[in-house]
Subunit: 321 residues, 2 copies
């Protein structure tokens, strides 16, 4: 059975018609009318209508940032869209009569895609961290997506790493998001630039470009710039420490890393593994997980949303979503 | 279907014949031959034989401390029994021909019992913390025990709370176990006794008794001794902080607290709830879990082990273990 996946991102809404193997048959996108809930609903309705071509038997899954309830129906809170207790499934169902709709958290959708069709397709237990502007997460355990009791599970970016640490947008301090995200990498790169020494080239580039951004730091990492590499190692060190705690709790077979920062590939994984091994409780007394980069890139959200919609219909044999 | 549950503890091996509702029909116990693996196997074989009364169709579940593999078969490591890669299921099966045997981690068995028959029997997502000498844990999510990719999931006592914190028996520093266990409570009580002020009575009792122990501190808590209550509040504060991080990752409906320290009841739950609310990421944007004391006490391990053995046989409708 084919399914439609929609990923509502901060800048664009990506949509695709996805087959049972996770392959994309057709894709569309729209600019996100940021902060304008009704306009976002209009865009989603248009995208589903166009991709379905009148076939209401094709289910549609919508991935959105924020907290989604366990019934895959209501958005408790989506920070960038101004949705609070938005009954999104009901709203969309009214506009798309006959179409089976499900709503999921965007990181959970991406994680599900990596589990079903991507980096973790041979595993039954995996933990995904998406290292973008923030840090998102998804947990698959025993072949099932861990949604939690209220649908808000897998918010790994808000695992506390440092008591009284850096303030976080969630209202707390010391969350992984402040030590393992793209934004954290930029902060570390700027600190290294300020410090001179191996940061001299970073400082010079910053001076020339006006400011550092993710693309610049990413390019410097590719060029083996010592300051940029030091920032990435610092970031990887924190992520590896978080994975050691997560391993005690979740014991995944595989940690998968997605998001913009994961473009650094093995250069990122190396310090993660090193810190993980240095901080793993009871090391040597049980098997250890592997660390890999996600394979589906930006398509993961919509491919996962489509498959979760299919799974919710009971249309995926042997998989309970 | 009835099942036999065996709980190999540090001081005693508890065994019971348990019916489908979790009720104990008959119970037996033996002193644990600590550190003597073959003698422990002999004791388990005797207990199963006596409880089964010759009926090999009754499955038997054995709960043991340490890391158990995902196949519920091999003990990777049991710190107090000197087992390393012990094929316990095979060893027991050879001695008990025809009996279906499963092996599980003791905290996982206790958590499963609370989920099926105890404090969390109305929930589908719960996290158990056993606050004994150490801190154990068990996670049930979507109605399934979270075993992890290698069987070592739910080791919540080794969530890191404090970077470079107190040394832990797992080889790391700053683990919850060092801030939320019965042993941690004793350390805090001694520190408060040393500090004078509200600790004066604690210090006097320590002087009179030679040393503080869990029973003494527990009794002082019941008597509202200000020093003992301060120690319990400190402990609860750390546990609540850990629950806030766990909530971001696991989002349980219910946190359940077992083990000796949980005898303090509501006096323990109050500081846990308070610290949880103060440290919960994105508070107010999604539903929040409840906090309760476990109801099955010391029976939880054997009741859970029995039910997990039954579940492994596929004999519990609607429940996948």
């Amino acid at each position: 059975m084919r399914a439609i996946g929609i990923d509502i991102g901060g800048t664009k809404i990506a949509a695709a018609l996805v087959d049972e193997t996770g392959a994309i048959e057709r894709r569309l996108k729209r600019k996100t009318p940021a902060g304008d809930g009704p306009a976002i609903v209009d865009a989603v309705v248009d995208l589903v209508t166009e991709l379905a071509g009148g076939d209401t038997s094709i289910p549609a899954g919508v991935a959105a940032p924020g907290f989604i309830d366990l019934a895959q129906s209501t958005v408790y809170y989506a920070p960038n869209i101004n949705w609070r207790h938005e009954p999104l499934r009901e709203v969309l169902s009214r506009r798309l009569p006959g179409v089976h709709i499900t709503i999921d958290n965007d990181a959970n959708a991406a994680g599900w895609a990596e589990f079903r069709f991507g980096a973790a397709r041979e595993q039954h237990d995996m933990t995904l961290l998406t290292l973008g502007t923030g840090v998102g997460g998804a947990i698959v355990t025993g072949g099932q997506l861990l949604r939690g009791g209220f649908g808000a599970g897998g918010e790994i970016g808000h695992l506390r790493l440092v008591p009284q640490g850096l303030p976080c947008g969630c209202g707390q301090r010391g969350c992984l998001e402040q030590y393992g995200s793209g934004r954290a990498l930029l902060r570390m790169a700027n600190e290294i630039a300020d410090a001179g020494g191996i940061g001299q080239n970073l400082a010079a580039v910053r001076e020339a470009q006006g400011a550092l951004d993710g693309d610049i730091v990413g390019a410097l990492i590719q060029e083996d710039d010592p300051g940029a590499l030091a920032a990435l190692r610092e970031l990887g060190g924190w992520i590896g420490q978080a994975c050691a705690s997560l391993s005690a709790v979740l014991d995944p077979e595989l940690f998968v890393f997605g998001g913009g920062v994961s473009a650094a590939g093995e250069t990122l994984l190396e310090p993660i593994r090193e810190a993980f091994h240095a901080h793993l409780p009871a090391r040597g007394f049980h098997p250890e997980p592997d660390f890999v980069i996600a394979t589906l890139g930006n398509d993961a959200g919509m491919v996962g949303a489509a498959d979760l919609a299919r799974t919710a219909l009971g249309a995926v044999p042997g998989v309970a979503g």
